[in-house]
Structures are given as C-alpha cells and as structure tokens.
C-alpha cells in the first residue's frame, strides 16, 4: 500500500497549512487544454483535451514519454504560449500572458551571465521596484536558503551546473510566486548533484509550503518528490493517470530514506514505468490504488 496521502500534517507544520485535497479551491485549473502545431495538412495536436487541477501546497510531478507534450503544458501554464483550445485558471481567474505570480525554472537555466549571482537573484525584486533595503535583506535570505551565501559576488560562469540551478531557484522563489513551474530542472545534472538538489527542493517545498509543478522523466525523482503524479500518454498527449504518493512526506517525517527502499516504492516505480511504456495492467491498479476521479477528490 502507498502511504496515506491524506494523513494529517505533522506537528512541526502549522495546523492551518492547507494540505493537498483539503481545500475546495484549486490553485490552477487546466480546462480542456489543446494545442496544435502547424497548419492545414501538417496540423497536429501536441496536447489534446488535457484537464487537471493543482491544489495549494501540492508537489505535482508530470511524467510521460518524450515528446508527449509535458513542456507544452508547462509553457501554457507559464503563459509563454496560448492554448489553441481551453483555458487555464489561476485562483479562478483566467490567465493571459506571463507574470511573476508563476515562477519558472528551466532545464538549462537562462541566468544572466553579465550579472553576478547576487544581481541575478535581485533581478525580480528590482524589476518589481521593491525598496533597496528589502531587496538586500531578501536576497541574503534566499541565497542562504539555497546555500550560496558565499557565492554572492561570483560571476555566473564560475558556478557548477548544480549551483546555477540553485541560483535559478532562488531567483524565482524570491518573488514569492503562487506556483513554481519546473521543466526537468535537474535533467542535466549528475546523479549525486541531482540527489542533493532534490533534497533541497523538497526542503524548500516543505518549509515554504510552495506549490510546485515539476516535469521529470526520472521515475525515482517523481517518487521521491511528488505528492501527486500525472502520467501522460504518447502524443498527442493527454493525461492517462494520476495518483497520490506519500514517499516525499514520509521522507521528511522520518528524516530518513527508508521509504526509498520499501516494497511499496518499488511496486509504484514499476507500475509507473509500465504505464509510461504503455504496459498498464491490473498490477498498476493494485500498486497505485484506484484512479483519482474528480468526485473522489472532493
């Protein structure tokens, strides 16, 4: 059995924290999203009729075969592209275009190489014309949070890949966005660094109660981080299954990586891989529990 996703919040977390599925109002509602590329004969759907919600405080991971439209969905949520059909609601208001309430972390972080680490992190608050004193304070806080306090004055090219990604995360978080959208942020990192970054993101998610929408092709990453996983089908992409996971929470509550070596972990892992490879069967149903339908969530 998977750990219970609806378990009450742990004692070190304030009771008023709106955990997954406990609030009626979703933060993001994606309704009938479709996006077509090309014209005439060549017109084909990258994603077709995608529906999902993201609730405050959730850590949603999206998985699926390459080219199934994961990035397309994220680009629509961020506002970089408009869907051909459907709409996205952010706190019940339809989004149009890009704004700083949705932070984005890219796989290859487009850091500003002409600025120092400090200036990169300060970019958001400066753009929003925050007072100088406040900017100084919050940059220090967020550099500390990603463990780069000592690197504030370094140039971007002096950083390793993992550090660059930390800067990108700090740069997004400092704006206190309503949701953090991450597109395979650790895909280009080596295994050891990736694990460190996963721990960092999990810690930040837990302590800051941020809502995170996270694309990955690494099934272990999804299992170790997500409170909910959306699995997409081959293109044109739609969401085939979604299910709740509790390994991430179990890890934090136990402060121990026991959960990674449990039998449930391996069964869930196999079930997800089977789903992505199109080998879904009854075993998956057994390992991941029944499908979560809209009704069940309410």
């Amino acid at each position: 059995m998977t750990p219970e996703p609806l378990s009450p919040p742990p004692p070190d977390r304030p009771e008023d924290f709106p955990g997954p599925y406990e609030v009626p109002e979703d933060l993001i509602g994606a309704q009938n999203l479709s996006l077509y590329y090309g014209r005439g004969e060549k017109r084909r759907a990258a994603i077709l009729n995608v529906n999902f919600s993201v609730f405050p405080g959730e850590f949603v991971c999206v998985m699926g075969p390459s080219g199934c439209g994961k990035s397309t969905i994220l680009n629509i949520l961020a506002g970089f592209v408009a869907p051909s059909e459907g709409r996205v609601l952010l706190s019940q208001k339809e989004i149009s275009g890009v704004d700083w309430h949705r932070g984005v972390v890219f796989q290859k972080p487009p850091l500003f190489e002409w600025f120092s680490v400090w200036e990169n992190v300060a970019f958001g608050p400066k753009a929003r014309h925050r007072p100088k004193e406040e900017i100084r304070r919050s940059v220090a806080v967020f550099l500390e949070r990603v463990g780069l306090s000592a690197w504030a004055d370094k140039k971007v090219y002096e950083l390793s890949g993992g550090m660059k990604q930390r800067v990108a995360i700090a740069r997004s978080l400092i704006n206190d966005p309503m949701i953090l959208l991450m597109d395979e942020p650790f895909g280009a990192l080596d295994a050891l660094t990736r694990e460190k970054m996963q721990d960092l993101v999990r810690k930040i998610w837990w302590n800051s109660r941020k809502t995170i929408f996270f694309i990955t092709h690494d099934v272990d990453e999804a299992l170790k981080l997500a409170t909910r996983v959306l699995v997409m089908t081959e293109s044109p992409g739609t969401i085939a299954r979604e299910f709740s996971l509790g390994f991430s929470r179990a890890f934090i509550e136990d402060s121990d990586d026991r959960a990674w070596f449990s039998e449930e972990f391996y069964r869930a892992r196999k079930a997800i891989l089977d789903l992505i490879a199109g080998r879904a069967d009854r075993d998956a149903e057994a390992a991941l529990g029944p499908r979560l339908s809209e009704k069940e969530r309410e």
């Binding site: 890009v98 704004d99 700083w100 984005v104 890219f106 958001g124 753009a127 740069r171 966005p177």
Partner: protein, 257 residues
C-alpha cells in the same frame, strides 16, 4: 597572459621571415626600385616624411585626418545601426521594413554610389564620412539583428516571469545577450570601413593616409606606397586589437558559459 605572448611569437616570427625575404630579394634580385623598393629605402622614406611631411602635411596629420573621418563615421554608424538592429530583432515589422533596404545597398561597391554622395554632399569630409558610414552600417545592423534572433527565448520568458517590463527586458536582457554578436559586427565594420577609406580619399582629397598612397602612385613613388601600406596595416592591427580588448572587457562572459 604568458600564453598570449607565446602565441604572438609565431606571428612576429612569420613577419620576420617575410621581412628577411623582402630584404634578400631586394638586395640580390636586381629588380628596379619601382617594382620593389628595399626595406631600408622604405624606412628612410618613413623618417623623411616623418620629419618633413608629405605634400604640406605631416605624416601624423595625414593619419589623423584619415582616422578622424573613420572615427566620426564609425561612431555615427554605431549609434544608429546597433539600436536599429536590436529593435529590428525584436519587432518583426520594423525588420521587414529595414531588411530589404540594407540588403539592397549592402552588396553595391562603395565607389558605385560615392559619386552620388559627392554630388549631394560636396567634396569635403561630409561625403567621405557618409560613404564610410554606409560601409559600416550594414555589418553592424545585420549582426545586431542576428544577435537578437539567435537568442534562446528562455531569456526573455525567464525575465518576464520575474516581473520585468518590456523596457527592462530590452536593456538588461536582450541587449547583453546580443552583445557578443554586436561586437562581431563592430569588428567586421571596422575592417570594411578601413578598406573603404582609401576609396573615400581618392576623390578630391588633399590629405589622409589613403590619399597619400594614391598620390604617390601617380608618380610611381613605390617607397612611399610601401610605407603608406605598412602604416595603414599597422594602424589596422592596433585598431582591431583595441576593439578586441574592449570586447574582452565588456563581454567578459563570452565563451565561458
């Protein structure tokens, strides 16, 4: 820094070999002075012109006249072509308006329209500067456009998700992203303008290093021609080197991402 000089050694060596070959050929091949003046003769001429000047102006004055025209035209081209190119890269409508104009005049040989410029602007510096300006404009414009067009859209998208206005994105993101390409244009332009300089000084000039060479060629003064060419070449190396230095200072992140 030591590597820098170590690599320069080979350039100096190559130049030395050519100088030596020149000296030997001039000394032993028994060619007429007009075909190949000796290095010593050219050096002598250099001192002579350095002290007495050439036709009313000192060598420094000739060089200064040329460089003044070059720099004025270069500055004008820079402050127009770079902003226009960057804007064109961002605004497809502006680009489709400007691109045809630039691609129309760019391949024309400068001398083809120089006459028209002289007719319009007279024989003074105005027409020369205009000619140099046009020669320098297109490379700067084209590479500025390319610098924006080649940018990963993530840069602009990323900046916008951080709350930056379009202005902020343009000045703090698009401009620096395009800077390495802008510098490619600046260097190409410099070379292009420099080679147009002689053409610009062909008509109705009485000073300038290019004019000096052309004037000397009328009287088959090979040593003056050689001297002028070497001075022009060395000046070109210094200018390009200065620009290179500036680029490394300003675009310090280039090639280190």
């Amino acid at each position: 820094m030591r590597r820098f000089f170590a690599n320069k050694i080979y350039g100096v060596l190559a130049a030395g070999i050519i100088l030596l070959a020149w000296y030997l050929v001039a000394r032993f091949a028994d060619l007429p002075r007009i075909i190949l003046p000796s290095p010593g003769g050219v050096l002598q001429k250099f001192w002579l012109i350095w002290e007495d000047g050439y036709k009313g102006h000192s060598l420094v004055a000739h060089l200064a006249d040329s460089l003044r025209r070059l720099f004025i035209a270069y500055g004008l081209a820079m402050v127009t072509a770079v902003p226009l190119g960057l804007l064109s890269g961002c605004l497809p409508k502006l680009r489709s308006a400007l691109d045809p104009l630039v691609s129309f005049y760019r391949p024309l040989p400068p001398l083809a329209y120089y006459t028209v410029l002289v007719l319009w602007m007279g024989i003074d510096d105005g027409s020369k500067i205009a000619l140099l300006f046009l020669a320098g404009f297109s490379p700067m414009y084209i590479s500025s456009v390319a610098g924006v067009a080649r940018m990963r859209p993530d840069y602009v998208n990323g900046a916008k998700t951080l709350g930056a206005s379009s202005q902020r994105v343009f000045f703090l993101v698009i401009f620096p992203v395009a800077l390495p390409d802008v510098f490619v244009g600046l260097r190409t332009s410099l070379g292009f303008m420099y080679s147009t300089l002689v053409a610009a000084e062909m008509v109705a000039a009485i000073s300038g290093i290019g004019w000096m060479v052309l004037d000397a060629s009328k009287y088959l003064q090979s040593d003056v021609i050689f001297m002028g060419i070497i001075v022009m070449g060395l000046t070109g190396i210094v200018l390009d080197g200065a620009l290179n230095l500036l680029e490394r200072k300003i675009v310090f992140w280039k090639g280190r991402e």
